[in-house]
Amino acid sequence: MRKHLSLGAVATVAVVALTACGGVQNTAGGGSDSGEYPSGAVEMPVGASAGGSSDLISRQISQGLADELGGSFPVINREGANGALAAAEVAKAEPDGSTISVQNASLFAITPLAVSEDEVTSIDDFEVVQGVSRDDYVLVASKGSGFASVDDLAGATKKVTYGTTGVGTGAQLACALTFNVNDTPAEAIPFDGGAPALTALLGNQVDTACLQVGEAIENIEAGKIVPLSVFGPERVEFLPDVPTAQEQGLDVEVAQYRFMTVPKGTPQDVQDAIAEAMQATFETDEYKAFNEQNNLTPMEITGDEVVAQLEEDKQRYADLVEEYGIDLGDAS
């Protein structure tokens, strides 16, 4: 097998070399005929540590792709800079389908609002293959704060503190917008991820926090923290009693969603093969149960729709941030 592969690679290199001036890019490594894909192991870098939702989703998709297409799709954790490290690796990988990655919307739509120009990751460096799922944010208040609804926040007598899951995350944006739209004096307290922010909220160290639904739902159901609002376009299936921000008269809509990307210039037939395999995976009971268990709402739209949504969100967020004079990059 290995010998066969390397012979193939030599042959391919020879062909490419012979036809010199290119134009036959699509005969490189990862295989060109959709029936052939994948011709070897496909790396799936993920920009988060093991155990988080991004990681779990990548692993579930990896399993699905391996079942549908054969071959192996090892997930590689490359955490850091809200996924920018993993993104950079995918962007500069060979565009032949041998490196693919499930990425987060926040890196493209929200992080640019917080970091300097040259650190921005652009969606233009990737082909978006397929949408995956949505992970909603929820605004929760600590028991000790006494807040029971978004209206209570407006009537706060002192500065309200809100924990976020970090700078440049959707959680920070959702909370910042809520307080600014409401004109409530508030202070952002950034934590390193959802778990420490939740711990601080449970201990009444902060009054409120914006978290992902999956991170907060256990303690919401146990009655230890109070959900005030979700930020999606409609209510979240897993928290049917919690109203959206829009319902409560706040023009705030922020969501995290994930989608499959490949490096720019990856052949269309490879992209199609991945998309088809993913759609087949989405239909399996195992995958549906996985979404249910992790409080993920399916968002299985096409790649083009994802890009359109990203552009729209990015513009909308930028406008809102400007309108309310929010500086995400400077929490202090």
């Binding site: 540590s49 155990g51 954790n77 201990g203």
Partner: protein, 515 residues
């Protein structure tokens, strides 16, 4: 207390795989305890990637914990038989242990040490079992101000009361604090000391640094230190101590366990400090202090009970509030992070299997150690004959492969080697890497907690003093800083004979003994 969770913990431990991991852990621990040079922190650093690749993270953590307390047993053996402390925490055992061996009572010394170790550890585990959940229940009251104060106390204590030269320890700790600032600032996302490198943007990985400083550094240092000198161990006869010996040793075992338990909980404390304190205490309460150094059984019993008690109780701050008390706990902290568990107040509720599994594994691990430590003495002594020239390349290879598997990053390998060289040079010049690693871990916690606190306080630092828990910690910090100063002032006023206080000589003694 949740007795069900506690009992479920035993179900976790008694699964055959976990029992096996526990056995492997304590055996490795005892083995490296025997080998002078390779300490528990270094071994945990080298074997850390196993945690990442194990099927069940609980098994991996059980094994790594076993290495730490197992090493406390092993360290005694070489102290007694060869006059070489296998571990820093067995340095004081050398004085009376080797004296006993010369009198032909090596077996008695080892027997008492094993019994004392078992007793000290068991007392401490019971303390941990009862106290752990109580501390954890207050853990939610630990907000950013408390963490900031506790981290500061930890850095201060590790630098000032650790073994070796205080100034050098402070320098090492400061470098550790500086290293912690590298990377993208999590409050403003400004880049600090990243030199436009995407790799450095997420900061220097603590696991990689620790593997370099402890793992590679130790390997390089040992390669130079041990030239394969033949060791001739003392003969062992009659392992079971007589009733008279036991009667003489038991109060020391009790005191040692008590001292060890409390010193282990303190940030910056741990087995080394506990053994020193216990030895000093024994000497002080003895009717005839001159016996010490000439084969006093209490001089073995006290420190050996204390270092095991401390090794166990230092799990309390780690498992309940997520603060590593010493370098070995910092490695365990890293291991937990590697398997995707953030040590903190949520641990006992979210992962009771892990919390109780690890704690209960210690009951069983110590039982295994008690049973095995004596019969295996002969084998372990033979291992001392393995030449470092053979051992070093193997461990180096394991370390390099290991660090790569954590992040699949070649960059990490180079970072680790660079820190390995730094660690080697530090040891050579008398700087301990321990304070540096601990300051590195606690540095980012200290900084971000402080900034978070200031945001919560709305810029008014008096909140640190008015909150009860952080106030108490700050008071303790002031005490730690003030006490030596007061002492110094006092000493200057009352002229004492300069020979009565051998302050300076302590340092050089310990340094020579500590690996």
């Amino acid at each position: 207390m949740d007795w069900n969770a506690f009992l479920d913990g035993f179900v976790v431990v008694t699964q055959p795989t976990n029992l096996l991991y526990c056995l492997i852990g304590v055996m490795i621990g005892m083995l490296i305890g025997v080998l002078p040079g390779l300490g528990p922190a270094a071994t945990m650093a080298i074997l850390l990637p196993i945690a990442y690749n194990a099927n069940d993270p609980v098994s991996a953590i059980i094994m790594l914990a076993g290495i730490y307390y197992g090493a406390q047993y092993g360290g005694t053996i070489t102290s007694v038989l060869l006059r070489i402390p296998g571990e820093a925490s067995s340095v004081v055992t050398v004085f009376d242990g080797f004296a006993l061996a010369k009198q032909g009572k090596a077996g008695t010394a080892l027997g008492i040490a094993a019994i004392g170790s078992f007793f000290g550890a068991t007392v401490s585990i019971i303390g941990l079992t009862l106290l752990g959940p109580i501390v954890a229940s207050y853990a939610l009251d630990f907000g950013p101000p408390e963490y900031a104060a506790l981290a500061l106390l930890g850095v201060l204590l590790v630098a000032t009361v650790g073994n070796g030269n205080t100034i050098k320890a402070l320098v090492a700790a400061s470098v550790g604090l500086l290293l912690a600032t590298v990377g993208s600032d999590s409050f403003t996302s400004a880049n600090r000391f990243t030199f436009d490198s995407l790799q450095l943007q997420s900061g220097i990985d603590f696991v990689v640094v620790a593997m370099g400083l402890f793992g590679v550094g130790e390997i390089l240092y040992n390669l130079e230190e041990r030239h394969g000198k033949p060791h001739v161990p003392a003969a062992i006869a009659n392992i079971w101590p007589s009733r008279k010996d036991l009667r003489q040793a038991s109060p020391a075992i009790g005191r040692g366990s008590f001292i060890g338990f409390f010193l282990g909980v303190l940030p910056g404390g741990g087995a080394v400090m506990a053994s020193l304190a216990a030895y000093a205490a024994e000497k002080r309460v003895a009717k005839d202090p001159s016996r010490f150094g000439r084969g006093a059984i209490e001089g073995v019993a006290g420190p050996e009970s204390a270092n095991n008690a401390a090794a166990t109780s230092s799990f309390i701050p780690l498992l309940t509030i997520g603060i590593p008390a010493n370098a070995s706990m910092a490695m365990l902290f890293a291991a937990l992070l590697v398997v995707g568990v953030t040590p903190g107040p949520q641990l006992i509720e979210e992962r009771p299997d892990l919390f109780w599994g690890v704690i209960n594994s210690m009951y069983i691990g110590n039982l295994i150690l008690l049973v095995l430590s004596i019969p295996l003495v002969g084998i372990f002594v033979k291992i001392l004959r393995v030449r470092p020239a053979i051992l070093a390349p193997i461990t180096a290879l394991i370390t390099i492969l290991g660090v790569y598997t954590i992040n699949n990053s070649v960059f990490d390998i180079f970072v680790m080697i660079a820190f390995g060289i730094i660690g080697y040079l530090m040891k050579k010049t008398g700087f301990e890497p321990g304070p540096m690693v601990l300051a590195f871990v606690l540095g980012s916690l200290m900084e971000s907690s402080f900034r978070r606190s200031m945001l919560i306080f709305d810029g008014d630092p008096s909140g640190f003093v008015t909150r009860p828990i952080s106030g108490a910690i700050i008071a303790f910090i002031v005490l730690v800083i003030a006490l030596p100063l007061v002492k110094m002032a006092f000493r200057r006023r009352t002229p004492v004979t300069p020979t009565s206080e051998p302050i300076g000589s302590d340092d050089s003694d310990q340094e020579a003994g500590v690996r």
